[in-house]
């Protein structure tokens, strides 16, 4: 098997940066996140709960209002 030679960064609009060939991501405070994945998704929106990695939280951004509570749904047949 050949060693990887190149690191590629792919810009995903309204999504993460996709990085192929990264070994570690170093934060500005010096913390290092290591990875063994061939490709990683690096969060750009800052909402991820597992920074620096993307956890798809950017997808939840559109839902500003809290989701309706299931309890308020009428229980249909059971209500008499």
């Amino acid at each position: 098997m050949t060693r990887k030679q190149r690191v590629t960064v792919i810009d995903c609009p309204r999504g993460p940066l996709l990085v192929r060939g990264a070994d570690e991501v170093v934060g500005f405070d010096g913390t290092t996140a290591e990875t063994n994945r061939a490709v990683v998704a690096v969060c750009r929106c800052g909402r991820s709960e597992r920074l620096p990695w993307c956890d798809d939280s950017h997808r939840a951004r559109r839902r500003r209002r809290p989701p309706p509570k299931t309890k308020e749904e009428p229980a249909e047949e059971e209500q008499d």
Partner: protein, 339 residues
């Protein structure tokens, strides 16, 4: 290999009989005469189990099948094709007409997976499910996860160029990135074992809902028919793009219920992995596939919409099952509180 499941109706019974028949002896197979013979194929357990068995011949196969060459038995292939016609027709009816605006598949896939909210099931598992309900979810989904990613491997020789490379890259991660103990199927089996549950697929097939089998059969339908290779990749894109957030919710449910680490590990892996796979599948696979073969655009989007619709249906069936089994108990609690 697994054992042939118990049939649950005329179609699955005829497949079982055909699988048990002596290789050179006479045997017949189920063949719905026309589309419409089975009124609700997407939730019909007998129909889906019959089709699942015919597909299973192309995966692990059955240890108790009489003929080791049953995989390519012409009559069984004819039967599979007949069931597939009915199945595909039902899926197309559910999805409705499909067209990709301006042929921009990346945008179309991003849009449909953004607006689709298949998260009710995951939210239930996160906040409300009991231990037993979460176990029953794991059991139901085992039919797929013990075979996770295998259907899509059939597509590798059916596509070319950069899309093939991207699919191989995604599959490499699914298959453990070179580490057998990180194989996603294995992580799922470890999760089941940590709860004292069997890791044998046939146990779960025996109990699975028709709609659950349909969601698995859909992947085989797309992957085993070259004509539907675009749909197979669109399905994969939609599946991955709507996976990371629900997996995060299920992970919180698993922790709330203090289930073993192996269960958490499976979902933990999928939050991070599927956020990557989503981008690889939408851009790397589907985007380049449609660049190479523009005529596939609608087929890719059809696959994505089919994934959302059929998996949504399977999720609704599970939610309904839990609701109806909870209703008597919750009513009793309500009566006690009122009295």
């Amino acid at each position: 290999m697994i054992r042939i499941p118990e049939p649950c109706g005329p179609l699955s019974e005829r497949v079982v009989n055909a699988l048990r028949a002596e290789p050179d002896g006479p045997h017949s197979v189920p063949e719905p005469r026309a589309v419409g013979d089975v009124p609700y194929p997407l939730t019909d357990r007998d129909f889906q189990l019959a089709l699942w068995m015919l597909y299973e011949l192309h995966y692990g196969g059955f240890e108790d099948a009489a003929d080791p060459d049953a995989e390519w038995d012409p009559l069984l292939i004819v039967s599979r094709a007949a069931l597939e016609r009915t199945f595909e027709h039902a899926v197309r009816e559910l999805v409705g007409p499909v067209s990709v605006p301006d042929g921009d598949i990346v945008r179309a896939l991003t849009k449909v997976t953004m607006t689709s909210d298949g998260s009710e099931l995951a939210t239930f598992l996160q906040r409300r499910a009991t231990r037993d309900e979460l176990r029953s979810y794991l059991a139901e989904r085992a039919v797929y996860h013990l075979r996770e990613s295998d259907p899509q491997s059939f597509v590798l020789p059916r596509i070319g160029g950069a899309a093939k490379t991207a699919l191989a890259e995604l599959q490499y991660d699914e298959y453990g990135s070179g580490a057998p103990d990180r194989l996603h199927q294995r992580l799922y089996a470890d999760a089941l074992a940590s709860l004292g549950m069997p890791i044998d697929l046939s146990t779960y097939v025996a109990e699975a809902e028709g709609a659950t089998l349909a969601s698995v059969n859909l992947m085989s339908l797309f992957a085993l028919n070259r004509r539907l290779r675009g749909a197979a990749m669109g399905h994969l894109a939609a599946f991955e793009a709507t996976s990371a957030l629900p997996c995060g919710r299920i992970l919180r449910g698993v922790r709330r219920l203090r289930l073993p680490d192996a269960v958490a590990d499976y979902y933990d892996e999928h939050v991070e992995a599927d956020a990557v796979h989503e981008q690889l599948a939408i851009r790397g696979i589907c985007g380049t596939l449609v660049e190479d073969e523009p005529d596939l655009a609608d087929n890719v989007l059809f696959g994505a919409l089919a994934c959302l619709a059929v998996d949504g249906l399977a999720g609704d069936v599970l939610l309904e099952r839990w609701r109806s089994s909870r209703a008597p108990r919750e009513r009793r609690q309500h009566d006690r509180a009122a009295g």
